[in-house]
Amino acid sequence: MIRDITLGQYYPGKSPIHRLDARTKIIATLLFIVELFVVNNFWGFVIAAAAMFAVIGVSRVPLSFIFRGLTAVFLIIIFTFLINLFMVDGRVLWHWGILTITYEGLRRAFFMAVRLVLLIIGSSILTLCTKPIELTDGLEKLLKPLSKIGVPSHEIALMMTIALRFIPTLMEETDKIIKAQQARGADFESGNIVQRAKSLIPILIPLFISSFRIAQDLALAMEARCYHGGDGRTRMNEIHFKKGDVVAGIILVLFLAAIIASRYI
């Protein structure tokens, strides 16, 4: 069911990873993603994967829970794999009609798929081990220096909070509307591309109207609860750098060094 998508979900816990400052986790995740594109050989991926599984181990989030998030994007991974497999020129390994698999293609496809899997799991660890509110608070604080040049850091963070909150609600709403129109005989699966695009109208219009209604209700509810911008707001859980964050920083630097070294193996 739609509400079982784990991407962007939080897994409550008290592990050392959970307790890290959200800023540390955001920076670490960003660096991890950049690293994935620096890696260019087998050993680099081994190091990255090992580091990632070590973090998962420490976080005590069940593996099954993490992999459930992957099933939602499984098709994208397969698609990327196939595109790379057949589209790269080089030493031919296999040939049939217009389809050709090359050594380079196989290698690139494999790396790309592994990269995607690591990227998705890596970033889902961030959201699984960080409360949404800490995540957005962390983001707000990281962006704070930019507010001097006019970046609305508080507003961006609030938008993220609301987006994370309402993704499941809107998914359920979409599910309901699709089913309701199906019950009225709507057909979303057959016809050419124009007909299919047209068949989306009975879903999109009610969904838009729903979103506006939610926005209106929510704005009123926030006003009633005295929301008046970021000035003068306090936080129940202020985020602070602690000893754990220093340790995490050191580990992160070592990891970076290992990844860069792997390019020369």
Binding site: D4, P132, A180, P206, L218, L220, R235
Partner: protein, 564 residues
């Protein structure tokens, strides 16, 4: 001076006309004056569109009066420098549980209000924990808001208000979207808060809830129609009728004079049907089983070995909690979901064997979802109603004829309404249009999921009348879900009780509601009049307690010469 004082309040809603000028659209509040004392419990009732919600939003300055004034604890709501002080004193809980929760995690959402007020972190922590304990949701503090039931979400919303330490909480139809269990819990919390000194203003359509207040204000056409104690209000039958309200069952029974019919029950002061119709072309469900995420880590059995049948041309009521599996079950009846095991037969046709085309299933079984007005999308009513039949391949004159007839069956005037935009209609009318859109597909079986949800008492009665009308005019089988046990008792030939994915009971309303204790043990209810008769039985053992309508109750009491 009283805590809240409203003087000559007028609120106009303006809209921009074609020339770009502002014109008066509606006068939502038309000269209201009232005082609310600290610590009181005030209920506000009235039809949809009578101005209740607008009045509520004026109390904490969410709506600024067009003229007149609202003064809270000496502060005028039009004074912008004081507006946050006003809202700190008067918190608000809204109707839709989903749309008022800001943060994904329960405790973070409860903290939202105090954070906005700039309260110290340690103090916020304390208030959040206290507020969550108050609404009995402390164990869920780390949960994701989207994992909670409607009733739980509403309790979180109340905790969010309580954490701001307000002196008054305005509840704007907080129970309208909840099932009976959720409704009862929310009401208990409101009473408990009031007992602890918080002034409560409760807007509601349920007279049983309003009766618990010290004072009931009746709104009609933007004016205060009546303002009295519950006892005074409910002794005035004419006033209740003209305000579009209904009499609480308990009082209706008390006030009923022997020999005089009870006038408040307009739908049908009915005999409960007890005929046994043979199953011919009805619906047959056999050993239905459905599992979400089959074979995956989070697999849950939503429907477990369910078998029942529904006779052709009968009306079948379905009851059960939100999340009991009843909606999932209904979606199997027109092929939206495919069972893991078991079969569904419509007449002779098995619709689950994979051979029947989906279009043919939908021609046979129409499904109207909860709040169907949210699926409207066309420019005009006629076009929207035509969407279903067009999908089935009906065209030309036949299509026009079908659309016209369907709109008339749901009780609307075709010529007046056909070219109107569905979005400009009132809530009750939108719902009728949406239902017309399904019956235009001429189903043999019509399924309605909570067709009366969120309506005021008068619109509620009208929708029930419409359902009867569809049943009689089209001669079709009707299956309807309701949380209102009186509707179930009065409308159904047969009742299905669903609990935790299983069929817990089936039978005539009289058979089902005879098992009052069993129903109550799983948190379901019986018609109010049945409860009252059970209570009376303790005092008068000679009476029959299995009574389902007011008329029956009056007769039974007369028979034994009992006066209340």
């Amino acid at each position: 001076m009283s805590f809240i004082s409203v003087r000559n309040l007028i609120v106009d809603f303006k809209r921009v006309d074609e020339d770009g000028k502002e014109v008066l659209a509606t006068r939502a509040i038309d000269g209201v004056s009232l005082d609310i004392e600290k610590g009181s419990f005030v209920a506000v009732v009235g039809m949809n569109g009578s101005g209740k919600s607008t009045l509520a939003k004026c109390l904490n300055g969410l709506i600024v009066p067009t003229s007149g004034e609202v003064v809270v604890d000496g502060m005028n709501t039009t004074d912008e420098s004081k507006i946050w002080d006003v809202r700190k004193r008067i918190a608000m809980v809204f109707q839709n549980p989903d749309n008022q929760i800001v943060s994904s995690i329960v405790e973070d959402d409860v903290a939202f209000g105090p954070e906005n007020l700039g309260v110290d972190p340690d103090e916020i922590r304390k208030r959040v924990d206290e507020a969550l304990q108050r609404v009995d949701m402390y164990d869920c503090k780390d949960k994701g808001a989207h994992m909670l039931s409607g009733g739980q979400k509403q309790r979180i919303a109340i905790a969010g208000a309580v954490a701001m330490r307000p002196e008054c909480i305005v509840f704007d139809e907080p129970t309208a979207m909840l099932d009976p269990r959720g409704r009862q819990q929310v009401l208990e919390i409101i009473r408990d808060l009031n007992a602890n000194g918080i002034t409560a203003v409760l807007i509601t359509h349920y007279m049983e809830e309003a009766m618990q207040a010290d004072r009931i204000i009746v709104m009609k056409d933007g004016k205060i129609f009546s303002d009295s104690t519950p006892n005074e209000l409910f002794s005035n039958v004419e006033l209740i009728e003209s305000a579009g309200l209904e009499m609480p069952t308990r009082l209706a029974l008390k006030n009923a004079k022997p020999g005089r019919s009870i006038s408040v029950e307009n739908v049908k002061t009915g005999t409960v049907l007890e005929k046994n119709v043979p199953v011919r072309n009805g619906l047959k469900v056999q050993n239905l089983r459905y599992v979400y995420n089959s074979g995956m880590p989070g697999e849950t059995v939503a429907i477990d070995d369910m078998s029942f049948d529904i006779a052709e041309g009968s009306i079948c009521g379905v009851i059960g909690h939100t999340g009991s599996g009843k909606s999932t079950m209904l979606q199997h009846l027109n092929g939206l979901l495919k069972p893991n095991e078991g079969e569904v037969y419509v007449g002779e046709t098995c619709i689950t064997d994979g051979k029947t085309k989906l279009v043919d299933i939908r021609r046979k079984v129409g499904l109207v979802f909860q709040y169907p007005e949210y699926q409207l999308f066309e420019e005009t009513v006629a076009k929207d109603v035509a969407f279903g039949p067009k999908n089935l391949g009906i065209t030309g004159d036949e299509l026009d004829e079908t659309v016209k007839k369907s709109i008339e069956i749901v009780g609307l005037n075709y010529d007046k309404i056909k070219d109107a935009s569905p979005f400009e209609l009132s809530g009750g009318m939108k719902r009728r249009v949406a239902i017309a859109g399904v019956i235009a597909m001429k189903p043999k079986i019509l399924i309605l999921d909570e067709p009366t949800a969120g309506l005021d008492p008068r619109a509620h009665r009208e929708v029930l009348k419409m359902v009867r009308n569809i049943h009689e005019e089209m001669g079709i089988t009707i299956i309807f879900v309701s949380h209102n046990m009186r509707d179930i008792a009065e409308m159904s030939d047969k009742v299905l009780v669903i609990n935790k994915g299983k069929l817990m009971m089936e039978g005539t309303p009289r058979e089902v509601f005879a098992r009052k204790d069993e129903l109550e043990s799983v948190g379901l209810t019986v018609p109010e009049v049945r409860t009252i008769m059970a209570e009376l039985k303790d005092k008068y053992p000679q009476i029959n307690e299995n009574i389902l309508t007011l008329d029956e109750a009056v007769k039974e009491l007369e028979k034994h010469n009992i006066k209340l």
